[in-house]
């Protein structure tokens, strides 16, 4: 999936957060966005997902040439856009397995429960979660690490074409980070692209980016290859 963002201005609660973002991710590419706290990275993720509180003042978001601006969140999702949230919502009384199955059925109405089980078992093995975990209510009382696992399970089962990972690495231990980023990396292919939002370059060791962008104050102020991330890691954002 090809994502193109043109001169994007976004405000939240009347406060301007994004001030002219330009970005183009070609099919098959992984891009990383780094930047200090409050620079607008998560705003970009939520805007792409179509959160109603994020008001687009100006600009355009195109997916394979089609504008997302008037598209409700679920239509975007069904196109193959998946956003891994930093703070996913809790859904009382709905086991994760039920959400996974109902979401999968939306994409493939003819999907049988047996075929679904097969895929689910495989995903659970890949990221080492027990079946008990799937029977817990979605995100309810999950630890930080468990929330990320639940997000990645959903990502893997959703047949995504474009993933936005909003700080997948925050609150994860080294081993979990390795397991989850390897799982995401397994999706790499000519059709699948990803936008990886992060503070640290560690996640990029496995999810090696084709391009790295630095966002400061609602704008992309620098772009480069994977080395840019290393530079930031050693020198900080002030060097940009």
């Amino acid at each position: 999936m090809r994502l193109e963002i043109r001169d994007l201005h976004v405000s939240v609660c009347k406060k301007k957060v994004l001030r002219g973002v330009n970005l183009c991710v070609e099919p098959g590419e992984f891009h990383a966005i780094m930047g200090p706290n409050g620079s607008g990275k998560s705003t970009l993720a939520l805007t792409l997902a179509g959160h109603p509180d994020y008001v687009i003042e100006k600009g355009e978001i195109l997916v394979d040439g089609e504008s997302l601006l008037d598209m409700p969140p679920h239509k975007r999702a069904l196109l193959g856009l998946f956003v891994c949230f930093q703070n996913p919502a809790e859904i009382d009384g709905v086991p994760l397995s039920k959400l996974l199955y109902s979401s999968a059925k939306l994409r493939e109405p003819s999907l049988s429960i047996l075929e679904f089980k097969k895929r689910l078992d495989k995903v659970c093995k890949t990221i080492s979660v027990s079946p008990d975990f799937l029977e817990r209510d979605v995100n309810l009382g999950f630890s930080g690490g468990e929330k990320k696992r639940a997000e990645v399970i959903q990502l893997l089962l959703s047949n995504p074409k474009f993933a936005v990972l909003d700080e997948l690495d925050s609150g994860l231990d080294v081993d979990s980070l390795s397991v989850l980023s390897k799982a995401v990396n397994s999706l790499r292919g000519p059709e699948f692209s990803a936008l990886i939002i992060t503070h640290y370059d560690r996640i990029l060791d496995i999810l090696t980016p084709d391009k790295v962008h630095i966002m400061v104050d609602g704008k992309i102020v620098a772009s480069g290859d994977a080395n840019l991330a290393k530079e930031i890691e050693s020198k900080g954002y002030a060097s940009i």
Partner: protein, 467 residues
Amino acid sequence: MTKLNVLNSKYDEKYGFSEPERFVLKTEKGLSEEVVRKISQIKKEPEWMLNIRLNALKIFNSKPMPEWGGDLSGIDFDRYTYFASSSEKTADSWDDVPEDIKRTFDRLGIPEAERKFLGGVGAQYESQTVYHKLREDLERQGVVFTDTDSAVKNYPDIVKKYFSKVVPAGDNKFAALNTAVWSGGSFIYIPDGVEVKIPLQAYFRINARNIGQFERTLIIVGKGAKVHYIEGCTAPTYSTDSLHAAVVEVVALEGAKVRYTTIQNWSSNVYNLVTKRAFAYKDSCVEWVDGNLGSKLTMKYPSVYLKGDGARADILSIAYAGDSQHQDAGGKVFHLASNTQSRIISKSISKGGGRSSYRGLVKVAQGAKDCTCTVQCDALLLDDVSRSDTYPSMQVDEESATIAHEASVGKVGDDQIFYLMQRGHSQSEALALIVLGFISDFTKELPMEYAVELKKLIQLEMEGSVA
């Protein structure tokens, strides 16, 4: 927020159909001693039952309209027909049921459901039970599952012993009304020690307009016996109101276990005023599983009198109130003996200006030692125009009692909807998922067919709720 006309239109599609009115027998409109005598006469009842009816009519006339609950001002007792019958007798073969009635129940999935998983089934159309069938193996074990009219004729001793004893006519105005004009309903008798492993089911249907349905259900479960009874109710959608005032009496003898599951989905012009009560003797267990959708006003508080040591009560109810609907529901438990346990879980959902109230009573009598009671009532509001109230009442006269009460009112979070939408669910699908999650404690207690049906109903209700 869109007005919830969708609710009614979807209801129409599924349950709102009606057959032309065709009555074999019918009383004139309004309520009088003459009408009561005529009902009794049509049924060829013994005098003792007529006397019970006439006495109840006096009580009904003497009692004022209750004012503590929902708005009953729209009820005009003179406007209803109190007895109407489209069939002369109860059939025990589906082929013998009159064609138009059969069509109705076929559309509602009866007796398809019977073939699938039921031990017995009864179907009531207007005032009369039109069909009753019990599996032969259960019949051989002495299980009785019939309509209450037949029971008066065939099992007079049992009926005399228990009828109106659990819910006396003087209990409330609508119990008195029912006792005066009751017709149909299920009568179940399970002999000592018999465990009925498959559910028994009844289905109640109001077809005509301005009619009252007053079924009377009496369930006696013998010592150590076990039964699960399920009932479902619907009516077509008319612009004038109908009245459903049922009475359900359950007696669980020593060590008995009984579960009573109801899913009511009345059209939005039915006053649904039901008194359900059980007596639970030593070490017995009574469970009410009570789902209330639709109706204009429902007032229903299934109750259990824990009369023997070690008896248990479990009341699980959900109520869904849409546009112009008021669900006033809850539960009551009376701890009258020691070591009795009870649990009330009530979940309500209000949408599109609907109102749901939890009304509950827990009483622990003096001398009933070491009782425990848990009450949990949760309300979910789907928008800003809907309403939820809680009226819990506790009267604990015994120090050794352990009582826990939890209540919560929540609104569906925008973040929850957004989250599910990001996973591909439309707004109404997301809402349905959240609502079904909210009532999952209830749904998992239902037989599969009912759980699936409830899920479909909730999904339909959520469509059209989207701004």
